[in-house]
Amino acid sequence: MAKQLAFHFDASACNGCKACQIACKDKNDLPLGINWRRVAQYGGGGWLPHPTRPDLVVANNIYAYSMSVACMHCENPACVQACPTNALTKRADGVVLINQDQCVGCRYCEWACPYGAPQFNEAKGVMTKCTFCEDLLAQGQNPACVDSCPARALAYGELSELRAKYGTENAIEPLPAANLTAPALVITPHRHAQASSKGTGHLLNGEEL
């Protein structure tokens, strides 16, 4: 059994189509306002006089890229530590799950998480979050988001194996720095990737997250 399941996201392959977000919503039957996987778009740059002929040429360095974000099933999950009822637990395979029968609906995990993973269901009065499609995993299938990606930008596996294969990058804008929770995520950066907290751009689709 895996010790720490993790997602791999290839930002250089992602075209921002959001099929992963929709596949997740469909598979998990998520209501309006709740999206366990979301595609954040980040961009920046502008028009600048060209260094060699500033009088003649105005060039642009505008860039944008997408970041598919779900629960990071962190190695040091702030939500699990914050939860007053032990409704949030980290399984032996690293997956962070919420037991809704135990949840008191205080939303404290929502404050604690830097990735917006725990989301509140108003109708039920309890928190919900990405389950890593543990039901599909148990049947030997892949998470819905991974299988839906037309660009094959999403993968999953054991964190140490993903790191050996793709490197250790896990903090690219608009994600926060990784030191808070040690996210189980491996990113293959986009060519315009901006390091967390040092980005020159901004989140472009905040209202739809």
């Binding site: 979301r38 954040a40 974000v69 702030a78 699990v80 530590q81 914050a82 939860c83 007053p84 009822t85 032990n86 409704a87 029968d101 135990q102 949840c103 008191v104 609906g105 205080c106 939303r107 404290y108 404050w111 604690a112 998480c113 830097p114 990735y115 917006g116 509140f120 108003e122 039920k124 009065g125 309890v126 928190m127 608009p174 994600l175 926060p176 808070l180 997250l209």
Partner: protein, 304 residues
């Protein structure tokens, strides 16, 4: 802001007021007991003590409105190992129990004065632990406007300020009650009540000074890690912030001076009463506005 956030404002303000009242009353009881004996001290504080319980109970009831699934509320003390929220609820319940035990012992005069004192000190220490864990709940790196040393300092200042002025109002009510039984109010009780009110006035002015250092410090500390919060506090919510400062300044400062003067001169009972009630009301509104701003200006670090 919605019902859930107002539930948190109500809970934190009332719980802090009850802890502060309990501590202030304990201090007064100790000094009066030393000066004029156990009997006078008990007579002075017993009625005020009974007002604290309902305040705490009301606050804790309000906290349930914050929950999406209150039926599971009893499970919220099961993660004491890592969750400050669990610890907050644990100390809240423990303070309620210890305070109630002490109130019953004091009311029925169970056990000796010394044993009752020990129970009271224990309850006060639990109260301090409650206010500390209330502050620690908000000390999370994902909430940069809260994760500052000013959060615990402000919570303790609110605790004492509301405690002093709530007890001021309670003592004035007690004064009128004693006076109605003993017209002219020449008894030692009346002198002790007036003395206490003078000290409350001094304490509220000192605490106001402390708060007027803390608030600019909060804005200054926020400016780095939570620029948006600081901007909201002086921009979008600038009017509320100004009102918050004005209410506390008028209540604790200006009326504090009037209270000191009125309590110093016998024959000014009516003024003293009105001033003490008004000071409490103004500071309560000011502190509620302050707590509102605490939540309303919060920003999140990372994706939300």
């Amino acid at each position: 802001m919605n019902v859930r956030e107002w539930a948190l404002i109500t809970f934190t303000i009332l719980a802090q007021m009850s802890v502060g009242s309990f501590i202030v009353l304990g201090v007064v009881h100790y000094f009066v007991g030393k000066k004029s004996g156990e009997k006078q001290a008990d007579e002075l504080s017993d009625r005020a003590l009974l007002a604290i319980g309902p305040v705490l109970a009301l606050g804790m009831a309000a906290s349930l409105l914050h929950l999406g699934n209150p039926l599971n509320a009893y499970k919220a003390v099961t993660n004491l190992g890592t969750s400050w929220l669990s610890r907050e609820i644990f100390f809240g319940v423990l303070f309620a129990v210890a305070g109630a035990v002490f109130a019953v012992m004091q009311w029925k005069k169970i056990a000796t004065f010394q044993i009752r004192n020990l129970v009271a000190i224990l309850a006060a220490v639990i109260g301090v632990a409650l206010v500390y864990s209330m502050a620690m709940v908000y000390m999370m790196p994902t909430r940069p406007g809260w994760n500052l040393v000013t959060t615990p300092l402000a919570f303790f200042t609110t605790t004492l300020l509301l405690g002093v002025l709530a007890m001021g109002a309670a003592f004035v009510a007690n004064y009128w009650y004693v006076q109605s039984k003993n017209p002219g109010c020449a008894s030692e009780q009346c002198v002790l009540l007036r003395d206490s009110l003078r000290w409350f006035a001094v304490a509220s002015i000192v605490l106001l000074g402390f708060q007027f250092v803390l608030l600019p410090l909060w804005v200054a500390l926020m400016a780095g890690p939570a620029t948006a919060s600081a901007a909201m506090l002086v921009g979008e919510f600038g009017g509320v912030f100004a009102l918050r400062l004005a209410f506390v300044f008028l209540g604790a400062g200006v009326l504090g001076i009037f209270l000191f003067r009125a309590a110093s001169s016998p024959g000014q009972e009516k003024v003293m009463g009105t001033v003490a009630y008004l000071a409490f009301a103004l500071v309560l509104v000011g502190e509620v506005l302050g707590r509102f701003l605490f939540y309303a200006t919060a920003t999140h670090f990372g994706l939300q």
